[in-house]
Each structure stands twice: as structure tokens, then as C-alpha cells.
């Protein structure tokens, strides 16, 4: 047992709204554990979320917390971070929230390299609205709006964020809870835009429709299909099948937006003699 994490939770707001077996509690615990292990001052951590099952997490977390509109968490968080760059700003979002309605904010925050940590609770389904397909629902999977199987090609969110210029990008799963905590820790420590694709089971709406009868079956699926980044690289494409890589895919240094803008302020103030 690690240290007591309940001080980071609003225990009086429990029980949470999530279904039995939902992965979101595991991801939330990983975030809180990462904050604890990093020894962050809870008064200087702000958690921002959008709309969806995952986005209800901040309500249970004892920090400054902001539950915004659907898809817009990263844009709200950008305002918070720019106004008070000394705060650690963590965005909790889901795959629909971050990659469909909020996709524009995700890529532009990555491009700016603003120091936000985005943790995407990725269950490849819209859970809150009871199981419609999302931009990451695998081809052929079933959803309430894909009754004949998903026909759209999915996003690989890590590839998407790397393509947009994100400087820290990682993936883990709720089966790999310790690994997940570690990559979230690295993401929070990273200066610049960091993104963690946290695969999280939705037994209620994804599992049941896709031959995984409960949370355990889904966790087992993660266990059997996740491969480390290095093994993945060595794996011949023909053998990959339903497997997917986990680990840190990118960890690079680049000028951080708030710091760069701080220099703009200094220059402008100097020019008008306000300094």
C-alpha cells in the first residue's frame, strides 16, 4: 500500500456515478497517485474536464476543478494556464470529448506546446449517452449507432497528437495501472503539451456489445493485446492484428508556449518603458 490518497478525494461526494467495473476509477486513481508521488501542492493543481463519463472525475478530486462544456476542456484549460502559468493544469477528457467535438482544441494545444497534461480516458465509445461510436471505435466493432459494425476508420490518438506536434505522448491501460501512473507522472513533469491515451474499459456499453461480458474480460483483452513500444516496433505488421503498443512514444524538448509568451510581455513592456 502506498500513502493514503483519500486526502486528494472529496470522499463526501462518493459513491461515484460510474458503473461497476468501469475503468475510470483506475485512471483517476493513477492521476491522484501520480500527483501524490510527485509531491505537488494540491492548491496549485487545477483539473479541467469536458462532458462524458470520464469528465465527471474532477468532481471527486480535491483540487480546483472545472467541469466545462462538451469538447472544450482544453480550451478552458488554456485560459486557466495562461492566466496563472504557475499552476499545474491537468485535463481529463474522453475519446469522444477530445477527438470528435473537441478535436480542434486537442491538435492546436499540441501545436502550441502549452504546458497542459491531457489524460484521455479512452473507452472507444460514448458511455454517458449509452454507447454510440466514437472516432476511435475499432473498425467492425458494434455500437448503438453502429448496429452493423463500425465502418469509419478510427484515429490512433497518439499518432494524431504526435502529428500535431505534441511533445510528450504515451499510452497505457487500466490493466497496467502501475505503468499508467508512471506515464502520467512523466507527463505531468514534462514541460510542454503532454498527452496520455489511457485505455479504460466500458463494460456497460462497449464490452457487452463486443463479446466481452464483463470488466475482467476487458482487462484481459488489454493484457493480451498490449505490447511494449519496443516489441511493437520489432513486430512484423502481419502479426500485429488486434495488438497495440503502450509506453512513451515521444518525449521531446521544445519551447513552451507560456514561457515564450512571457518573453513577448517582457519585450512589449520594455518597448513602452513600463519595465
Amino acid at each position: 500500500m502506498g500513502s493514503d490518497l483519500t486526502k486528494y478525494l472529496r470522499v463526501e461526494k462518493l459513491p461515484h456515478i460510474w458503473c461497476a467495473g468501469c475503468g475510470h476509477g483506475i485512471v483517476t486513481q493513477a492521476i491522484v497517485r501520480a500527483i501524490d508521488e510527485l509531491g505537488l501542492d494540491p492548491a496549485k493543481v487545477t483539473i479541467v474536464s469536458g462532458i462524458g463519463c470520464s469528465s465527471r472525475a474532477p468532481g471527486y478530486m480535491n483540487f480546483d476543478t472545472l467541469h466545462t462544456t462538451h469538447g472544450r476542456a482544453i480550451a478552458f484549460a488554456t485560459g486557466v494556464k495562461l492566466a496563472r502559468p504557475e499552476l499545474k493544469v491537468i485535463v481529463i477528457t474522453g475519446d469522444g470529448d477530445a477527438a470528435a467535438i473537441g478535436g480542434n482544441h486537442l491538435i492546436h494545444a499540441a501545436r502550441r506546446n502549452i504546458d497542459l497534461t491531457v489524460v484521455c480516458y479512452n473507452n472507444s465509445i460514448y458511455g454517458m449517452t449509452s454507447g454510440q461510436y466514437s472516432p476511435v471505435t475499432p473498425l467492425g466493432s458494434f455500437a448503438s449507432t453502429a448496429p452493423y459494425g463500425m465502418v469509419e476508420r478510427p484515429f490512433d490518438l497518439c499518432e494524431l497528437v504526435m502529428g500535431a506536434g505534441g511533445t510528450f505522448v504515451a499510452r497505457s491501460t487500466t490493466y497496467h495501472a502501475r505503468h499508467l501512473t508512471n506515464v502520467i507522472k512523466q507527463a505531468i513533469q514534462h514541460k510542454g503539451f503532454s498527452f496520455v491515451d489511457a485505455l479504460s474499459q466500458c463494460p456497460t456499453y462497449f464490452g457487452r456489445r463486443n463479446n466481452m461480458k464483463d470488466a475482467l474480460a476487458m482487462l484481459n483483452w488489454y493484457k493480451e493485446n498490449a505490447v511494449s513500444r519496443d516489441d511493437w516496433a520489432k513486430m512484423p505488421p502481419a502479426e500485429r492484428g488486434s495488438k497495440f503498443p503502450i509506453g512513451v512514444f515521444r518525449d521531446e524538448e521544445a519551447p513552451e508556449y507560456c514561457e515564450t509568451y512571457r518573453k513577448v510581455i517582457e519585450k512589449a513592456m520594455e518597448e513602452v518603458g513600463a519595465k
Partner: protein, 381 residues
């Protein structure tokens, strides 16, 4: 030698200078005609005073960033026009529900849809009031002169801060692009209001009404101040956490409405000219009111008993002012506006049949001229 306090400002420029004088230190925007100069000027001026400008990826993100910055303690503003105003509505509603002080400028252009981007209109009067889902009162101010743009932008921030609410500054292309003289107030004459903050160390209930005057507006802490509070667009209780209980939700929704509606008389500003003895009243706002004023003066010069009511506060609607003036005997009320009768409809509602309401309307970018108003008055006589 004392520095001159006179400036020749464009309307959009006066808005930026007024905002900075009011304490704005954050602006997020997106380019759109005819409000773009506001964003451009903020990008120059804000860093000079230690503030932050950002051009976001879209209109929705701009409004979101403004809410975030305000919650982190800065006075924040965005500016847009027609299509962008439509896009921002959801997050303006969030600001109303979550009681986040902020200012939204809409430099109106011709609609519907893309309309005529470089031409003036006043077609967003009703959208400003009703553009969001759910019940919410909103404060909307509308300047007609460049110096008024300056003072009303300050006023907009003051109201936003005092009432913890979004305030809309509804300009139009004419006022936004016109250049006129502005006399800056002396530093000591400037009245600047700041949001109430909770007492450090106290138990903070961010949505709990308190006692006394303005007790219906709870104090607002900033993220990072150590209060660790929760903000949501879900209907919430005094502690800020979501509720499904009608008995908790209803007082919250009613309070965010009544904190504005109960201050109607205090919030409503208007200019009146010859209204005491008028038997014909002209009601207008924004740039149309400039033509209306000229028409009223010209008609008075030839002995026509006409008066002007220029609305500066559009919402909450100054129905008490209109009803007071209508208590005299009005033969007719003329309403010049660059839309198809949005203000006239509201005036008609307030008069409740006491006098006929006649519209003078233009909708495709052509300005209302004094002669148009004079003609309408003469047709009544």
C-alpha cells in the same frame, strides 16, 4: 505640462482602451470582420501592460479560454461578430450558469448567416438576449458614440465583476469603425469595480448567497488561491456540486436570473431628449439612434413635439422607462433599427396597446438616415 487627455479613437480601439482601463488582462479571440481590430489591438496593447492575448483556434475556444482565465483571476474579454457570436453562445451560457465574470463584444454585421461581413446591422438584439438554451437574464449594453464605447466597456467590466456574470457589449459596424474624439477620464475619476473574494481560510461555498446588499452575488475565488472549489455547467447547489434535486436547483437558476432582473432600474441607462412633453416618441439604439437624434432635433426646431429615447442598456429591457414616458399621451412610437423590427416588438410588448408602434427598418447594410425618421414622424402627424 499636463498631458492631453484627448484621443482620436476608432470605436474598436476605444473598446480596447476602455477594457484595459477597466483592468482587462486577458483577451482570447478569433479573426472576424468587423471586430478584428479589437483582437489586433489587444495583441499589441495587452503585453504592454503585462496582460495576455491569444488568438485561439476558433470562436468557441476563445469564449472557453476567457472563462478559464477569469476563473484564474483575470478580467477577460473576447470580441466577435454575427457568425462568431452564434458559435460562442454555448459557452456564454456556461459563464452565466457558472457565474463567471467576463465581457463579450459583438460588433454586429448583416445576417442571417455570413450575410454582409463589412456592412452594419442591429439584428442580434434578440440573439444577445435569447441566444442560449435555458432561462437566463443577461446584461447587454449598446454604445452609439466612440466616447461611449470607451465608457461602456468599462461599465461592462464593472457590471460583470459586481454581478459575477457575462456582459455583452453590442456594437455595430458603424460605431466600431467610426473615428471620434474621446476624452479620457482623469485617473482619479475612473470607477473600477473588482469581484468580491472570499475571506482566506474560510469555508468557501462558491454559489451560496449571503446576507445584505448584493448578498445574492456570492464571492468568487480564483483557481490557485487555495480554496479548491468546483465549477460546473450542471445545475448545482451552493457548494458548486451538481444536483438533481429540484429544491436545490430551482433556487440556483432563479438566483442567476434575479440578480439581473431585480437590478433592472439600476442597470438601465438611457438618453432622453424632449421626452417630457413629446406626443411622438422615437426609440432607438446604437448607430441608428444617431440618425434618430438628428431627426428629433430637426423636427423640434420646426415645432414638432417629438422626443427621443436612446437605449444604452438593451437588456434587462427598460420597460419602466418606456412605460413612464407612455404615461403621457403618445400619439405614436417610432422605432428606427437596422433589423426587421426586433426592438419594435419589445416596445410594443411594453406599451400593451397604449400607442401604435411604427418601425423604420433596414436590413441589407444601408444606414437609416435622419430623413427616414422624419418621414415616419410626418406620416403620423
Amino acid at each position: 505640462m499636463e498631458e492631453s487627455r484627448s484621443r482620436l479613437y476608432q470605436g474598436n480601439e476605444a473598446c480596447v482602451e476602455g477594457a484595459i482601463a477597466a483592468g482587462m488582462r486577458f483577451f482570447a479571440g478569433y479573426p472576424i470582420t468587423p471586430s478584428t481590430e479589437i483582437a489586433e489591438l489587444c495583441s499589441v496593447r495587452l503585453p504592454q501592460v503585462g496582460g495576455t492575448f491569444i488568438q485561439m483556434e476558433d470562436e468557441i475556444a476563445s469564449m472557453a479560454a476567457v472563462c478559464g482565465a477569469s476563473l484564474a483571476g483575470l478580467k477577460a474579454m473576447t470580441a466577435t461578430s454575427g457568425p462568431g457570436f452564434s458559435l460562442k453562445q454555448e459557452n456564454i451560457g456556461f459563464a452565466a450558469e457558472a457565474e463567471i465574470p467576463c465581457v463579450i463584444v459583438n460588433v454586429q454585421r448583416v445576417g442571417p448567416s455570413t450575410g454582409m461581413p463589412t456592412s452594419p446591422a442591429q439584428g442580434d438584439l434578440m440573439q444577445a438576449r435569447w441566444g442560449r438554451h435555458g432561462d437566463q437574464e443577461i446584461v447587454v449594453l449598446s454604445p452609439a458614440y466612440v466616447d461611449e464605447v470607451y465608457s461602456l466597456t468599462i461599465e461592462a467590466f464593472n457590471i460583470a465583476e459586481e454581478l459575477r456574470t457575462p456582459v455583452i457589449l453590442l456594437m455595430d459596424e458603424v460605431v466600431g469603425h467610426l473615428r471620434e474624439k474621446v476624452t479620457l477620464p482623469k485617473p482619479g475619476d475612473l470607477v473600477i469595480k473588482d469581484r468580491k473574494k472570499p475571506v482566506p481560510g474560510s469555508r468557501y461555498l462558491p454559489y451560496a448567497p449571503g446576507e445584505g446588499e448584493d448578498g445574492d452575488v456570492p464571492p468568487l475565488a480564483a483557481f490557485g488561491d487555495g480554496f479548491r472549489f468546483h465549477v460546473t455547467g450542471l445545475t448545482h447547489g451552493p457548494d458548486g456540486f451538481p444536483t438533481n434535486s429540484p429544491s436545490v436547483g430551482e433556487p440556483q437558476i432563479k438566483r442567476i436570473n434575479s440578480k439581473i432582473s431585480s437590478r433592472r432600474e439600476k442597470l438601465c441607462k438611457a438618453e432622453e431628449l424632449f421626452t417630457e412633453d413629446a406626443d411622438i416618441l422615437v426609440v432607438s439604439f446604437g448607430s441608428s439612434a444617431r440618425s434618430a437624434k438628428k431627426a428629433v432635433k430637426d423636427l423640434r426646431a420646426v415645432g414638432v413635439k417629438v422626443g427621443l429615447l436612446r437605449l444604452i442598456t438593451l437588456w434587462p429591457f427598460p420597460e419602466h422607462v418606456i412605460q413612464r414616458i407612455a404615461a403621457g399621451k403618445l400619439k405614436a412610437v417610432i422605432v428606427p433599427e437596422m433589423n426587421l423590427g426586433q426592438l419594435a416588438r419589445e416596445v410594443r410588448r411594453c406599451l400593451d396597446g397604449r400607442a401604435p408602434v411604427i418601425g423604420v427598418n433596414r436590413v441589407a447594410g444601408k444606414l437609416i438616415e435622419p430623413a427616414d425618421v422624419i418621414r415616419a414622424v410626418q406620416e403620423v402627424k
